[in-house]
């Protein structure tokens, strides 16, 4: 597939180089999106759309100049390139660019082909009816998101790469009410692929999990506040590593020395029992890519091994500025953003303990079964994240449910306090927002024990 003629792209790149750029790349994107929203037991909205645009990046030294346009006319692309290149105030002889198509291993995906709207709607109706069998459920909102992103990447080193990236996600949001008590529960499984993901999902488990979460939080008491040991369960619990450490290992922060870990490669930054990776190559995972948005094949990057910082997540500009090797981590939301070093599927690796051993080891504390989102300030390492479903632990046993908890701390501190890691690793889809926009990422971990963390609550 070629969205724009190669000769036009070659001319754009050649123009960028002649204006003084050391490196030029062109990112062409065409994305078909389809969003279905099912509310009030009705198919309320169906939206379809085309995103189409071209991003042009010129790099000179470590200065990055970026522009984008929706037009693929050669004259417009040359106009944008010239506007950008004029900043360098330099003229060089123009170069001839010949492109070689990149071959790379394809990351596996769940197929599915074209599925008629009726089939999707029928599935949403099935889920709506299943949730509403519970008499406390007062509302069900379901959103189906299908995306088919096609990208072409060209650069002045002669690279041409093409990838087609299908995404599918189903968000489930239910509201439960009992008298004056009200609560909500949410899940959003997603994958790289098509309808097969939905076909292969264990829907009854998804429905049961969400209803259990809703029933638990409906009657839960406010969480007590204070510093205490916490067991964080697997799956979306991985948001702790994502926020408290993952963002601090992106060269976007490291290159500015705006990460507390910027100079810690080879040093102990975490408990010796903790190892973690960022792996873009996992079949069908939400954060997987065959190539990154700079046209580099993705890889599994070992971030931490037995507590020692082994690697950063590095894109081209991060490499230029820090010297760390590129890791196929240059990512962006769309052509409207220049790429930046970002996470893909990031997780703490499995350890030896069972969930019961972890909970039994903390005496009194908190068991955070399901986590919500969070954020971090990379410069200070201060992070926060919310807990959606939690239980008090008393004498090593799970006790009553509590609600409204949040956990805060500092990355470099919390990494040394994850002292026990469980064996039951699982991954969950999420959306991560940062300098290059909102991108699909996976978080994950086995259950783990944090020796002490500040828990916010009302009790």
């Amino acid at each position: 597939m070629q969205l724009v003629s190669q000769s036009a792209v070659a001319e754009v790149i050649s123009t960028g180089l002649s204006l003084g750029a050391d490196f030029v790349d062109v990112f062409i994107e065409k994305t078909h999106s389809e969003n279905l929203s099912f509310k009030n037991s009705k198919m309320s909205d169906i939206q379809s759309g085309i995103q189409y645009g071209i991003g042009i990046r010129l790099i000179k030294g470590d200065q990055v100049i970026y522009g984008y346009t929706n037009s693929d006319q050669k004259e417009e692309l040359l106009r944008v390139t010239t506007l950008l290149g004029q900043r360098f105030k330099e003229q060089r002889n123009s170069a001839t660019i010949n492109f070689e198509t990149l071959s790379y291993p394809q990351v596996g995906l769940l197929s599915g082909g074209v599925v008629p709207l009726e089939q999707k709607i029928s599935h949403m109706r099935f889920l709506d009816e299943a949730f509403r069998k519970d008499k406390l459920v007062t509302q069900v909102v379901l959103d189906f998101i299908n995306k088919d992103q096609q990208v072409e990447i060209y650069n002045s080193e002669g690279l041409y790469a093409y990838e087609r990236r299908p995404y599918i996600r189903l968000t489930n949001n239910i509201i439960l009410q009992d008298g004056n008590l009200q609560t909500s529960a949410y899940s959003a499984p997603g994958a790289r692929g098509g309808w097969d993901f939905i076909e292969k999902m264990d829907h009854q488990k998804n429905i049961d999990d969400l209803l259990r979460q809703g029933h638990t939080t409906l009657y839960a008491k406010p969480c007590p506040a204070g510093s205490m040991p916490v067991v964080i369960d697997n799956g979306f619990g991985g948001v702790i590593f994502h926020e408290a450490c993952g963002h601090l290992l992106e060269t976007t922060s490291v290159e500015k020395k705006a990460s507390v870990f910027w100079d810690k490669k080879g040093e102990m930054i975490a408990h010796p029992n903790l190892s973690a990776s960022d792996d873009g190559t996992l079949d069908s995972e939400w954060g997987s890519l065959s190539i990154d948005d700079e046209g580099m094949p993705t890889q599994k990057t070992k971030l931490i091994e037995n507590g020692v910082l082994k690697n950063f997540l590095c894109d081209r500009v991060g490499h230029l500025k820090t010297g760390h090797p590129r890791t196929g981590s240059g990512r962006r939301q769309s052509y409207k953003f220049a790429p930046a070093s970002r996470m893909r599927n990031t997780f703490i690796e499995a350890g030896p303990y069972s969930r019961e051993e972890l909970i039994g080891s903390i005496g009194n504390g908190l068991y955070a079964k399901k986590m919500g989102g969070g954020s971090v300030n990379p410069a200070t390492g201060e992070f926060n994240f919310s807990v959606l479903e939690a239980y008090l632990v008393k004498d090593g046993k799970i006790g009553e449910a509590v609600k409204g908890a949040t956990l805060i701390g500092r990355g470099e501190d919390i990494m040394t306090k994850i002292s026990m890691v469980g064996s039951d690793l699982s991954l969950m889809a999420g959306i991560c927002g940062s300098v290059s926009g909102m991108i699909p990422t996976t978080v994950g971990q086995p259950p783990l024990k944090v020796d002490e963390i500040l828990v916010g609550g009302r009790a």
Partner: protein
């Protein structure tokens, strides 16, 4: 472009359907620096065309960023297919309004050379360091200027257009003293480059980040709390569904049954006013092409109405407040404009209280259905005439209860940095703060 919109709607009429179409385009320049180096120079131009088509009481939506002939054909064809597959919705219709409105908020012609802007951004670290030698770096420092153009046309021939622009700069200095690190982020927004408040931005971020270098830990307890206008605006943004009639229709509004009932303290009134003089943005029309109205949402603590579009007004049998919000790529929703909170009387307050200037994680730590929230906070403890900085604390409470359990400390209105929320100084009583202090 208007010609293109008219031709597209002509195709809609041929299908015996009604509809409206929105065209949005924007141009922007963004600069980022790290130290003296310009690390990002980004120029952009984008466009988006979105169609809402209604046929046989069914709604279909389609949008495209590509304006070639194939894409325009796709727009009508896809919207029609989507409408056919949707459930019937007897309440959604194209507002019957006509005439033209041209809304322009381009008050300043920007004639400042781009090199001056680059120089300003790349010299900002030096300017910060001149003011405070503890400044180590500026991890976030940038500038953006944006010009937007929006057109709306419907099958009743209502046409509205809007042009607006903004200029914005932001900075987050990192201060290090005796091994302790501290940052504080703020921004300045203006309708022209010359209106940007660089000095205020530097002074305020340095004052807070500097104070936080000496931050202490609070003891876990209940405190009386005063929020900065920025923090309070974050609450109103997170809990925006409380004022939305669409959330009522979707049974996701906790105040659904509280019309004419007390939802806020009896001394408070809350008005949505798109024309409020001191606000940054003013809007003449909503996204259905209807003229905006000033609406009293809460009077003396009593909820008087929700914000409506034409569909929710019809479904609930209320008056349309003309607060439709729809982008080219989204379905018909509801959005606030400027919120103005006023108080009737002040309450003398000389007790210990906590002033909160930063909320971390409110977006994920708050539940719109229950009102419960929990998030990280920073600020100052005001005790016996002293102002003591604190960090590493969490704040937890219930927003619905919080709005009723308060007193007004000062009637003078404070604005958030984006100038969309105006509020008196309010003290919220007995909120839970967890800290590591003894």
């Amino acid at each position: 472009m208007r010609d293109l919109l008219e031709k597209t709607l002509e195709e809609v009429r041929k299908e015996k359907a009604s509809g409206d179409i929105i065209f949005q385009s924007s141009k922007s320049l963004k600069l980022s620096a790290f130290g003296k180096e310009l690390t990002e120079y980004k120029v952009s131009g984008s466009q988006l065309l979105g169609l809402r088509l209604i046929k046989n009481n069914k709604v279909g939506l389609a949008y495209t960023e590509s304006l070639d002939r194939d894409s325009l054909n796709y727009l009508v064809k896809t919207a029609l297919q989507n409408a056919e597959a949707s459930s019937e919705n007897e309440y959604e219709f194209v507002s019957f309004n006509e005439g033209e409105v041209h809304d322009e908020e381009l008050s300043h012609q920007d004639e400042v050379d781009v090199e001056i802007k680059v120089k300003k951004v790349t010299s900002l670290l030096e300017d910060f360091k001149k003011r405070d030698s503890r400044v180590e770096s500026l991890p976030y420092n940038g500038y953006v200027e944006n010009e937007n153009f929006n057109m709306y046309l419907n099958t009743h021939n209502r046409f509205t257009s809007r042009k607006d622009q903004f200029f914005q700069t932001w900075a987050m200095p990192l201060l290090i003293d005796d091994g302790k690190k501290s940052t504080y982020y703020d921004y300045s927004i203006a309708s022209g480059y010359q209106g940007l408040e660089w000095d205020r931005l530097m002074d305020e971020t340095l004052a807070v980040a500097g104070a936080m270098l000496k931050s202490t830990h609070l003891k876990t307890s209940k405190y009386h709390v005063e929020f900065s206008a920025n923090c309070l605006n974050s609450f109103f943004q997170k809990f925006s569904s409380l004022f939305s009639a669409k959330a009522v229709v979707n049974k996701m509004n906790a105040w659904e049954k509280l019309l004419e009932k007390k939802v806020m303290h009896e001394s408070l009134t809350l008005v949505d006013d798109s024309f409020f003089k001191e606000a940054f943005s003013h809007y003449r029309c909503d996204s259905e092409g209807n003229d905006h109205k000033k609406v009293s949402l809460v009077e003396d603590g009593i909820l008087k109405t929700f914000l409506h579009n034409s569909s929710t007004a019809k479904q609930l049998g209320h008056s349309n407040t003309h607060h439709a919000l729809r982008g080219p790529g989204s379905s018909l929703g509801i959005g606030r404009t400027n919120f103005i909170i006023t108080g009737k009387e002040t309450h003398h307050f000389d007790e210990t209280y906590v002033e909160i200037i930063q909320l971390d994680g409110l977006f994920s730590g708050a539940n719109e259905v229950t009102g419960d929230f929990s998030c990280g906070v920073k600020g100052f403890l005001h005790k016996e005439g002293e102002k003591i900085p604190f960090a590493d604390a969490t704040l937890s409470g219930n927003f619905f209860e919080m709005l009723k359990n308060l007193s007004v400390r000062d009637l003078k209105l404070q604005a958030d940095t984006g100038m969309s929320l105006f509020t008196p100084k309010l003290i919220f009583h007995d909120l839970s703060i967890a800290g590591q202090g003894a």
